[in-house]
């Protein structure tokens, strides 16, 4: 009885997870007639697959948009914001894990909350002031500008994850290094950092996911030069592009990160991820 329930649950959940993805993939291969005359599901049986959607987004004579440059932009911006957040965030997290900071009545817990609270701000609120700020700094529509803005949303995640992670690493490790004559900075770089790869990997993955998938800041703070991939697709959506082209471009832009799911799973199964959130 329990086994049947479990199997049913797992089947239903897996179908639910797969359904929108499969729908996006099939739609991307549909000709116009298979979309506008009502829902069709099974290729060859219900509709004849066509490459019309994919031809529109990939380079070639029928191309209506360029998704290659936006892909590069997305890579640069995501990598930049992830790197900055990881470096500054993990240093701060290590400090918060090992030392006691005091300023008036504020304790470490309050400082951690301050970091995390930066995520509460809805992007809608920040869009206009960030726009003015970047304009003043001549950083509008530049990689650096978008990277800095994204960092404010990603560093909180790094601090949140890495404080717990460093707390789980025994203090004896750094104390040992300091007894041998290292100062705390050397101790961090020589003994703690090499042990932190799993934690940094997880934090980095979250940064990549949230950085890559950001649309709002990229939409408001960049125009033509630093168009990111999701924004390029949203722009297509804005011009009432048919669903088969939208589906093809959506599939195109989620492929890089779906690859990341495999990487995460490898870490999980090797047990490396385990320590990262404890």
């Amino acid at each position: 009885m329990y086994k049947v329930l479990k199997a049913t649950f797992i089947t239903i959940w897996s179908l639910f997870v797969l359904f929108p993805i499969m729908w996006a993939i099939t739609t991307s291969f549909k000709p116009e007639s298979a979309v506008v005359n009502g829902a069709t599901f099974i290729p060859f049986l219900e509709f004849q697959p066509s490459l019309i959607g994919w031809k529109a987004i990939l380079p070639g004579p029928d191309s209506i948009t360029n998704l290659i440059t936006p892909t590069l932009n997305s890579f640069i911006v995501t990598a930049g914001a992830t790197a900055i957040s990881l470096i500054f965030g993990s240093l701060a997290a290590y400090g918060l894990s090992r030392f006691t900071y005091g300023w008036k009545n504020y304790s470490n817990a309050d400082i951690i909350f301050f970091f995390v609270s930066q995520r509460i701000m809805p992007p809608v609120v920040l869009a206009i002031p960030f726009f003015l700020l970047l304009k003043e700094l001549k950083l509008l529509d530049t990689h650096l500008g978008l990277i800095l803005v994204l960092t404010s949303g990603l560093m909180p995640i790094v601090v949140w994850l890495m404080v717990d992670f460093f707390n789980a690493l025994p203090r004896e490790i750094d104390e040992m290094a300091m007894l041998e004559g290292c100062n705390p900075i050397q101790a961090f770089f020589r003994t703690i950092l090499p042990l932190s790869k799993p934690g940094l990997t997880v934090a980095g993955m979250f940064c990549v996911i949230f950085g890559w998938n950001d649309v709002f800041f990229a939409l408001t703070l960049t125009a033509t030069k630093v168009l990111t991939l999701p924004v390029a697709v949203i722009a297509l959506n804005g011009t009432v592009t048919p669903y088969w082209i939208l589906a093809a471009s959506t599939v195109f832009s989620i492929i890089p990160l779906v690859g990341l799911a495999f990487v995460i799973e490898r870490f999980l199964s090797r047990g490396n991820l385990g320590g990262a959130v404890r």
Binding site: S117, V124, P184, I234, N237
Partner: protein
């Protein structure tokens, strides 16, 4: 220990974050006391007019109330389902590694793009869902133009997108649990349910709290699904504060008023999340392991 070292670690990150955030924050506070829109050059001072208008703005408070149940409901569902599938993927099913990858995928997809796909699923005349319903002989549902179904549609999308986040954090937590308590429970002959209620669940409390807090923070910003699928409609039936603030400040260009709504939203969000955090801390302490 010398005083400089602790600062070396904390200050660069803290200063960078404050440097990025301080101007937008101060600017937002200042703008709420003006009637600024993009066409004006300077900032005037009109006192608390925006704040008074906000107090009377039933559409705003309605969206706030909606957000309250929408975020708590979706995060509760995400937690329950995420925990369930994390337990399955932890041990006890075949092809674990396959399912782990599969169940992670929604989190990897861009929410605002998947919202377009979801819109094509829920679209009433040519959408996938009504296509399925009509094939099995059921009546089509007005998923996007009727208040009840539209809210269900938003909930479904949020659960699909973010349950994997809970799943990942909770699975990682489960994988890092020490083995001894489980062996002790097995020696005592505890049933599967008892082991879960007395051992697994309490030991997962700290991780659960962290995951729920982060999800609540992100859920309080629900925007992509609402904006792409229903534009807050029908009427205002699915409008969240983020969508309403977007409407007022970036589409009607009433930036001063939009900022007021946003600042109030920020204050309420921080208050609510602080209280929830305190309650969680108290609940989990005495029972800790």
């Amino acid at each position: 220990m010398k005083k400089g070292y602790p600062r070396f670690f904390l200050l660069p990150g803290l200063i960078l974050l404050i440097a990025i955030i301080i101007f937008p924050l101060l600017f937002t506070i200042r703008v709420t006391f003006s009637s600024w829109n993009v066409s004006q050059t300077g900032l005037n001072f009109i006192g608390g007019e925006n704040w008074a208008e906000m107090a009377r703005d039933t559409r705003y408070w309605g969206s706030m109330l909606r957000l309250f149940y929408l975020s708590f409901l979706t995060v509760a569902i995400q937690y329950a389902l995420g925990f369930a599938i994390a337990l399955f993927a932890w041990k006890g099913i075949a092809a674990r590694r396959f399912f782990r990858v599969l169940w992670l995928i929604p989190m990897m997809t861009t929410p605002s793009l998947m919202a377009i796909i979801w819109r094509s699923i829920f679209t009433e005349d040519i959408g996938a869902l009504n296509g399925i319903l009509s094939r099995v002989g059921l009546n089509p549902v007005n998923w996007l133009t009727e208040s009840g179904p539209a809210n269900i549609a938003i909930t479904i999308v949020e659960v699909w997108q973010w349950t994997p986040f809970m799943f990942l954090i909770l699975l990682a937590g489960l994988l890092s649990l020490p083995k001894e308590p489980f062996m002790a429970a097995a020696i005592d002959g505890a049933s599967a349910w008892k082991t879960f209620a007395r051992v697994t669940f309490p030991m997962m409390a700290p991780i659960s709290i962290g995951a729920i807090m982060i999800r609540l923070i992100d859920a309080s910003k629900i925007f992509d699904s609402v904006f792409t699928m229903t534009r807050g409609g029908p009427g205002n039936a699915t409008e969240t504060p983020a969508a309403y603030i977007f409407q007022r400040s970036l589409q009607d260009f009433q930036i001063a008023y939009g900022s007021t709504l946003a600042l109030m939203y920020l204050i309420l969000a921080i208050l609510t999340l602080t209280i929830i955090g305190k309650v969680f801390a108290r609940l989990s302490k005495p029972r800790g392991i």
